[in-house]
């Protein structure tokens, strides 16, 4: 298997006021180029920590992390993040929010006209051409999240990291954005790591689902390969017995083998 992103024996220990807290231990994960990986687990299992480690926002206490042949030593635009709460800058228009990212990545090599074109393209990709000049507080939650995705995609990252990107949205908006994301990933061939707590979302979008055990000292419990043919169709899958089998596997992991302590 070609390693594009790899985590080897990664530990993460946080120093808190009550002493040390080990969030992750021995996390080993290899991701191929163009693969869509979902990380799923109960809340508090450290799935966001894994994502923040790959993003470089956190530094592991132990272990090695590599992205595209280089060690991950800090955040960088080649690993773009779509944040759960969109994190758009409220004083910039949608266009300027995306432009800020484009400018950072491409200003050294491209003209201003090219930067503007890239920004327009990224916003067109998520269907927001009409809202370019609006400020974040003027658009809906789903649109904000799409701007966040456009900002990340516009950087042409090697890996797109998404932290529960649709978690704060209503079910209908979430479904539409999932469909859009599937289309975008199919067109761009992006490598994606997505944290989610939604089983359907994980099965629908992923090539592999990484299932985490419960914390503290959480690690990867199982990895489920989702061998459903692409492109996938939400309605078609609803009738597909294999889809239901895969969905059942994830549910069994989450609710039988690693039921949350509070629930058990």
């Amino acid at each position: 298997m070609e390693k594009y992103v790899s985590l080897e024996y990664v530990d993460m220990t946080f120093a808190s006021r009550k002493g040390k807290f080990q969030a992750l231990r021995d996390v080993n994960l290899t991701i191929r180029q163009g693969e869509f990986i979902s990380i799923i687990g109960h809340s508090g299992c450290g799935k966001s920590t894994v994502l923040n480690l790959i993003a470089g926002l956190l530094t592991p206490s132990n272990g090695v992390m590599i992205c595209a042949g280089r060690e991950i030593s800090g955040p960088g635009p080649e690993r773009a993040v779509v944040f759960q709460n969109h994190s758009l800058l409220p004083w910039l228009t949608c266009f300027d929010n995306v432009y800020l990212a484009v400018e950072r990545v491409f200003a050294a090599t491209e003209s201003k006209a090219d930067l503007t074109r890239r920004t327009h393209e990224a916003l067109a990709l998520v269907g927001l051409t009409a809202s370019e000049t609006k400020y974040p507080h003027e658009i809906s939650g789903g649109m904000k999240q799409r701007v966040g995705i456009a900002r990340a995609l516009a950087m042409e990252p090697k890996v797109l990291l998404m932290d529960e990107p649709f978690g704060a949205l209503d079910a209908l908006t979430r479904a539409r954005l999932q469909d859009e994301l599937m289309g975008i990933v199919a067109r761009t061939g992006s490598t994606v790591v997505m944290v989610t707590h939604d089983v359907d979302e994980a099965v629908l979008l992923s090539d592999r689902i990484v299932m985490m055990t419960n914390g503290p000292a959480a690690t990867i419990g199982e990895i489920l390969a989702v061998d459903l043919p692409k492109p996938r169709n939400r309605l078609g899958l609803a009738e597909d017995p294999h889809y239901h089998h895969l969905r059942g596997e994830v549910l069994k992991f989450l609710y039988e083998r690693h039921a949350h302590k509070a629930a058990a």
Partner: protein, 300 residues
């Protein structure tokens, strides 16, 4: 209400269907008309009520204040009452911009020159204080270095700085501006530093993922994110400057509202002193309101 609307609609469409027969429901339209006007009246009454409730307490307060003033002025005959002060004010403001030599100028000139000093002192404080606060908020180490000095100097009475100013600048006017500068810089530094250190982690994460340069972080993230705090600093700082200017001018002389108060005290013109107090209060209030208006513009 909704029932009335429905009834009204039915009535409007009724004539076509029931042209030959008399309309079976003539009453709803009459019924729906009455509550509508009654509601209009009650809404008007409600509006009047809330207006009176909003305006009455301040007016009542002012009335009590004036009564107290009259009462005190009768107890202490040296203190002029409201009527006398008002007459004097009308006369004073009928010609605010006259010039009879350097020590006898209209009230307008005095106010303007005080405002000019405040503007210069505050302007320099902003030029130094906001960037300084920025650095303090951004770099914990520098903050730890500066905080004992700031804690030490901040509580010093503004006028204690006046001799230093006189010594260094050897002139009264720059010394007054210096006092404004040094006393209005602290709220600017402290609030800017607070705003910068409280920029939400989300925005900083964006900056880190984008790997923005320090300049871009400052201009695109730190400055806009801490703008509400900076403007609070500006408001407090101008408030302090305007407080201090009267005292500083009393000591330094020249043209200015503070000097004018002192001059009128020497002339034993107590009405003018009272007018000066009101003028200082009103100008301070206007400055505050203008800055609040500006701050609302930066509320994301």
């Amino acid at each position: 209400m909704s029932a009335n609307v429905i009834a009204l609609k039915m009535d409007n469409t009724a004539p076509e269907a029931t042209l030959s027969a008399p309309s079976p429901q003539p009453s709803p339209s009459e019924d729906s008309g009455k509550p509508a006007t009654a509601e209009k009246v009650s809404r008007w009454v409600e509006g009047l009520r809330s207006f009176v409730l909003a305006v009455a307490p301040p007016l009542l307060g002012l009335g009590v204040f004036l009564l107290l003033w009259v009462w005190i002025s009768q107890l202490a005959p040296a203190l002029p009452g409201p009527a006398k002060t008002w007459d004097s004010a009308v006369q004073l403001f009928s010609n605010p911009f006259y010039r009879n030599g350097p020590n006898d100028q209209g009230i307008g000139w005095n106010i303007l020159s005080s405002l000019q000093r405040v503007g210069m002192g505050f302007g320099m404080a902003a030029l130094v204080g906001i960037p300084l606060g920025f650095v303090l908020g951004r770099f914990q180490f520098v903050n730890a270095m500066a905080s004992p000095i700031i804690s030490l100097l901040r509580p010093v009475s503004p006028l204690a700085w006046l001799p230093i100013g006189l010594l260094v600048f050897k002139a009264a006017n720059p010394a007054a501006i210096w006092v404004i500068f040094i006393s209005s810089i602290w709220p600017l530094v402290i609030n800017t530093a607070m705003g910068v250190s409280k920029v939400p982690q989300d925005y900083l994460n964006v900056a880190r993922v984008l790997n923005l340069s320090e300049w871009k972080i400052a201009t695109k993230i730190m400055l806009p994110a801490s703008m509400p705090y900076i403007l609070t600093g500006v408001r407090l700082s101008i408030g302090v400057a305007w407080l201090v200017i009267v005292a500083a001018e009393m000591l330094t002389g020249g043209v200015g509202i503070g000097f004018w108060v002192w001059d009128e005290w020497n002339n034993l013109n107590v009405e003018h002193i009272l007018i000066a107090i009101f003028v200082v209060g009103i100008v301070g209030l206007l400055l505050e309101q203008a800055l609040l208006l500006l701050a609302r513009r930066f509320n994301y």
